[in-house]
């Protein structure tokens, strides 16, 4: 780890290596993926029994596998291992080429191993996913603007609903951990790159390969199962589901690879003196979330694979008439589904804690409490899944125990509030753009959290489960809290990525639009639910007319705010006010290296003597 590639080549010289990689990029990946999908489709069409049940599902799944493998081949993910197998291992110049040395902007289109490039690629991927999910959300809300509007027909509406849910979940899983566990965590721990740079690129491009599958499922349509893919409707719905499920299978591979990489980087690549109690809290948040993901996402892989097997080859895991049960599907799904909420939430909270210390100019209030709250949340979140099943009829006698574990979640969640509030306490609060999102988060997360406690209470859940009240609750958590954390992190680290401030005026405008939009949309959605509107309705009666119209107006406001933010991100990237390397006067390592961060980050690896929270202390 002390050797550096950079210093072995003359400064400014382009690496001579690269080999096959010189010819491969995103476009060759698209071509290879498309060709390979076509070949898999044609072969399976020719050889499989077209009279057999599940024929179209078999063809679709095989074509999806062809797409993913072709895409990986075309981007160059398999080239290094191929060279290793034939004995022509990559040499230093090849690795430098892969890291994108002196390549300029072009390296963002390639299989690039530089963790900072991967971080930027994740920003773009997150924006694309949020954009796609946002457009679908607008479709849903437009359809619900007035009773019986039928802006889209019911079939299209259900597909919108299913894909909106899943796209947004994937977007939020990667929204904080994707860009920032890649861009800043290695620098924060004092490393020159991730532990496995090639796996880092692999996780990114595998995620990219999953997106066309997920959005393609929308094009085929007929997805009646919601994002929870409840059986048996998910066994009967159209072939779009095969693409949908294959997107998840691909996605779980991506997150598993990324999670292992994050954990290994932090555990093995820390610089001298960076012991575990000196790690910035965001690093811990990334590690805890990655570890929790390694527990949770295999269930995701399994539940989708079993579902596909039922559809393709006549197994009957979830088919009641043949000895299976839909409750198995629900259990497996929520074994993933609840921990996943914390995979999403914890990095966002970690980033917000990091922001709070910098802009309150104070040490983090009780580092160990912060760490303890994250670890206990992760642990508890594995033991609460059946609260999603209180009204399914499955194992009523487990209702009480799951109610206990679920309500216990509010204790570590409360500690997270204590840490942020304690850090604000008597600070000199510097109200720059990132701080707006911290206060927005605190405001919204209380509402999202408290309404979650209502739902954990079985007598209340018997009334509220499956209504718009639940939808409003988790949107307060996902949009009001996690998305706020993600945008706060973007505003905070944007100067480190680009060397420029995110436009403060546009940024604040977008904050107010999104903040007000969230209150308008989801407070009135709570009312729809309280008054008795089921979720996933494509139409409704007159009694829900006003609250739905208000929700739709609020949703448009959120969209307007997000578009303003997108405009600010794009225009400030090259035209923003120059920030210098450490505009916030922060003490974490990523701010102490130059901007733009050079390849391999550090000239000389730093030696750490204290944690980065020494505000107000004698140095």
């Amino acid at each position: 780890m002390t050797t550096t590639l950079e210093h072995l080549t003359p400064v400014g010289a382009d690496p001579a290596g690269g080999g096959l990689h010189r010819r491969l990029n995103f476009f060759t990946a698209l071509i290879f993926g498309g060709l390979s999908a076509f070949i898999a489709w044609a072969l399976s069409h020719h050889f499989l029994n077209s009279d057999g049940s599940g024929f179209s599902d078999q063809v679709t799944v095989l074509a999806s596998i062809g797409w993913v493998l072709g895409f990986e081949l075309g981007i160059g993910a398999l080239t290094p291992i191929g060279r290793w197998i034939i004995g022509k291992d990559q040499v230093r110049d090849d690795e430098l080429y892969l890291a994108g040395k002196n390549m300029g902007v072009r390296r963002h289109w390639k299989y690039c191993t530089d963790h900072k490039v991967v971080g930027v690629q994740y920003i773009v991927v997150t924006a694309i996913l949020l954009g796609a999910g946002g457009i679908l959300a607008m479709g849903i809300r437009t359809n619900l603007m007035t009773p019986g509007l039928h802006f889209v027909n019911q079939q299209v509406y259900n597909s919108f609903l299913s894909v909106h849910g899943m796209v947004m979940i994937l977007a939020l899983i990667v929204a904080v951990a994707g860009p920032w566990a890649n861009f800043v965590v290695p620098i924060m721990v004092g490393a020159r790159d991730m532990a496995f740079p090639r796996l880092n690129a692999l996780s990114l491009w595998t995620l990219v390969a999953a997106i066309p599958l997920l959005l393609g499922s929308l094009a085929i349509g007929g997805l009646d199962m919601g994002w929870v893919t409840q059986a048996p409707i998910s066994e009967q719905t159209g072939v779009g589901f095969d693409l949908f499920a294959m997107a998840i299978v691909t996605f779980t591979i991506s997150t598993t690879v990324a999670g292992i990489n994050t954990i290994c980087t932090v555990m093995t690549m820390r610089t001298k003196g960076m012991n575990l109690e000196r790690l910035p809290i965001f690093v811990w948040a990334s590690v805890v979330a990655a570890a929790l993901g390694l527990y949770a996402f295999p269930f995701f892989l399994v539940v989708m694979s079993l579902n596909l097997a039922d559809r393709m080859v006549g197994t009957s895991f979830f088919v009641a008439s043949q000895g299976g049960t839909g409750w198995l599907q629900e259990n497996l799904f929520w074994l993933m589904g609840h921990p996943e909420v914390y995979v999403i939430l914890i990095p966002a909270v970690g980033a917000l804690m990091e922001i709070t210390t910098v802009f309150a100019r104070k040490p983090l209030f009780s580092y160990r409490t912060a760490l303890g709250s994250m670890v206990s949340l992760a642990g508890l979140s594995a033991l609460v899944w059946a609260h999603h099943m209180f009204t399914t009829g499955w194992a009523p006698s487990l209702g009480g125990p799951f109610m206990v574990t679920t309500e216990m979640i509010s204790i570590p969640t409360g500690l997270m509030f204590l840490v942020i509030l304690g850090t604000l306490w008597r600070g000199n609060i510097w109200m720059r753009l990132p701080m707006y999102w911290v206060f927005g988060f605190l405001f919204n997360f209380i509402i999202g959290g408290v309404t979650g406690i209502y739902l954990s209470d079985i007598p209340v859940d018997n009334q509220m489960h499956g209504t718009m009240f639940v939808v409003a609750h988790f949107h307060y958590v996902f949009v009001g809290s996690v998305l706020f954390g993600a945008i706060g992190a973007l505003c905070f680290w944007y100067p480190k990525v680009t060397g420029r401030f995110l436009d403060e005026r546009l940024g604040k405008l977008s904050f107010w639009l999104v903040f007000v939009g969230v209150q308008v949309t989801f407070l009135s959605m709570f009312v729809s639910g309280l008054r008795g509107m089921s979720r996933r309705y494509s139409s409704y009666e007159m009694i829900f007319e006003h609250t739905n119209l208000i929700s739709t107006m609020g949703a448009y406001t959120i969209m307007a705010g997000m578009l303003v933010l997108l405009g600010a991100v794009i225009t400030s990237w090259t035209g923003g006010e120059p920030s210098g390397p450490n505009p916030w006067k922060s003490k974490t390592l990523e701010w102490l290296v130059p901007t733009p961060v050079p390849l391999e980050n550090f000239e000389v690896l730093p030696v750490i003597t204290s944690d980065p929270y020494t505000y107000g202390e004698a140095q």
Partner: protein, 255 residues
């Protein structure tokens, strides 16, 4: 010493803001919650609404504390002026405050848990309890078999010839529902009675309720079940015992 005086002032001011916000939250809990929810037609629903009220009231001081500190930070502790503010005090934690916070949130959680578990265990309410009893051979006064299919509900009354697309129930009688589905999963929800259980193909799930008010109420589906999920609803007519018997007798032998 100024530090201590400062701290005292902060504590007092924040306490005042907190108290004000708590009062607002309690009022919202007491009045807005029951006003926004449907009028109850069963004891189960009444207890559900009461629980919502109690939880909102209990949550009010917590939310008020967070909002009070935020408001204070945004106004009094806000850095005014250009450039990076000076460092704040190096507070790396506060043992008593952390313990107090932990104890407070634990006590509150325990209170909510005891309330909820007590309600779950009491025999007048909560569908899940009823399902346990039913599994052990229930003791309801009336049983109704509920069958869901895309996209309608049908009801039959065991021991009689009656089958119906509307649900008729006598007031103040303990009713047990045996719920199943002919195709995909549906959610059986009587909106004004606070009970809900999924209708699963190949399985019978149960829930029970005692309607306590004569009137017409709504059944909705709460699980996405295909194209017409939004239209899968029907009426519940809660009538007097005499009217119920009259209705049973008036039904044709086949529908």
């Amino acid at each position: 010493m100024t530090n201590q005086n400062d701290n005292k002032k902060h504590h007092r001011d924040i306490f005042i803001v907190w108290a004000l916000l708590t009062v607002i939250g309690v009022l919202v809990g007491l009045y807005a919650t029951p006003w926004l929810m449907p009028k109850s037609a069963s004891h189960t629903m009444s207890m559900g609404i009461l629980t919502m009220v109690i939880f909102t009231v209990a949550a009010a001081p917590v939310a008020a504390l967070v909002y009070a500190v935020c408001l204070y930070a945004l106004t009094i502790w806000r850095h005014r002026g250009e450039g990076v503010p000076a460092d704040g005090p190096a507070i790396r934690g506060n043992g008593p405050a952390t313990v107090l916070w932990l104890v407070g949130s634990t006590v509150l959680t325990l209170f909510l848990l005891i309330w909820g578990l007590g309600l779950l265990g009491s025999d007048q309410s909560a569908g899940a309890k009823a399902s346990i009893e039913a599994a052990n051979g229930g003791s309801a006064e009336i049983t109704v078999d509920v069958t869901a299919q895309q996209w309608l509900w049908s009801f039959s009354y065991p021991g009689t010839h009656v089958k119906s697309l509307d649900l008729y129930l006598p007031v103040n009688k303990d009713v047990e529902f045996n719920v199943t589905s002919k195709d995909v999963v549906h959610g059986f929800w009587i909106v004004q009675m606070g009970i809900k259980v999924n209708a699963n193909p190949g399985v019978i799930t149960t829930t029970s309720v005692t309607p306590d008010k004569i009137g017409t109420y709504t059944i909705r589906c709460t699980e996405i079940c295909g194209l017409d999920h939004a239209f899968m609803m029907t009426k519940v007519h809660v009538v007097s015992e005499a009217d119920f018997q009259k209705w049973l007798a008036s039904q044709p032998t086949r529908i």
